[in-house]
Symmetry: C2
Subunit: 147 residues, 2 copies
DNA sequence: CTGTGTGCAAACTCTTTGCATAAGT
DNA sequence: ACTTATGCAAAGAGTTTGCACACAG
């Protein structure tokens, strides 16, 4: 979709991140901009709140964990992120909001994209009366071959 | 209409539950038998630890929540149960260990079986080097149609 | 008897919340 | 200024763990 070039650490100037937030109807605060930058700079990512928080700390971006959670949920609400439905204890957020599915590496609880168009689901059954399909998630669970 | 094949509270007699546990290599203790009875009496179920615990309490079966957790995991280890991989905060256990997929009703975090053979997955991509497929989970997420 | 299972409570992880302070427009 | 976001710490859910006692074989 979008994310072409992002201005590193760009507070000033009209960074695309700032514009992205404005268009999403979110006030471009320091924290939101910094997190958006981390999230969307490097292409598609699958990250947990804790992971993003650590990354922010590592780059000396002062954000509290609570704000990371808030921000991830706000981004999800406005369609900038998508929550990935794999089990495992943590919640993962996906910067790729297009329709696609995932590998889930059980050994280290990591999520990888399955490129779209490579896999399809056949004959999705009709939902029960009164319900509609919100989305279809396919998770191909992987385990390391131990030899 | 109570239990068909299972002897309620059956300590004595050779209840199928007792045999099932023996064959699985688990000592048929009171708690394990009671829980197995609740789990497997009524056909396929998708239940959380908390749900099973409440059910046990309701039927005056004294079991601690810790034991419910232990038991569910032990049953899973020996292949009597399967953990269902939907997201949502709770972990669900499925008494149907065959290959099949699920509807997940987002509104009330409920899991329903999709009958096997009704749906298939095409062209599952080759896993990355060094990994093998543990299993493929399809979750059709449903939301209530609001009028 | 001997070892495994159980119960309880406390610990732990992940996530959410309440409220005073700080920042955005 | 006026409003919304943030940080902190505390609370909350779900799940796990450690250890003394109880029960199955």
């Amino acid at each position: 979709m979008e994310n072409t070039a992002f201005t590193q650490g760009g507070e000033h100037g009209r960074s695309p991140v700032r514009t992205m937030l404005r268009e999403a109807g979110l006030r471009p605060t320091r924290q939101r901009m910094a997190l958006a930058e981390l999230l969307f700079r490097d292409g598609n990512r699958h990250i947990s709140a804790e992971g993003l928080h650590e990354e922010a700390m590592a780059r000396r971006v002062p954000v509290s964990l609570a704000t990371v959670y808030n921000t991830l949920h706000q981004f999800t609400d406005v369609g900038l992120l998508r929550e990935v439905a794999v089990d495992g204890s943590k919640t993962y957020f996906d910067t790729n909001t297009d329709n696609h599915h995932h590998f889930f590496i059980e050994d280290d609880e990591r999520v990888i994209d399955i490129p779209p168009g490579q896999m399809g689901v056949d004959d999705i059954p009709t939902p029960p009366e009164g319900y509609e399909i919100s989305r279809v998630d396919v998770v191909v669970r992987l385990r390391r071959i131990r030899g």
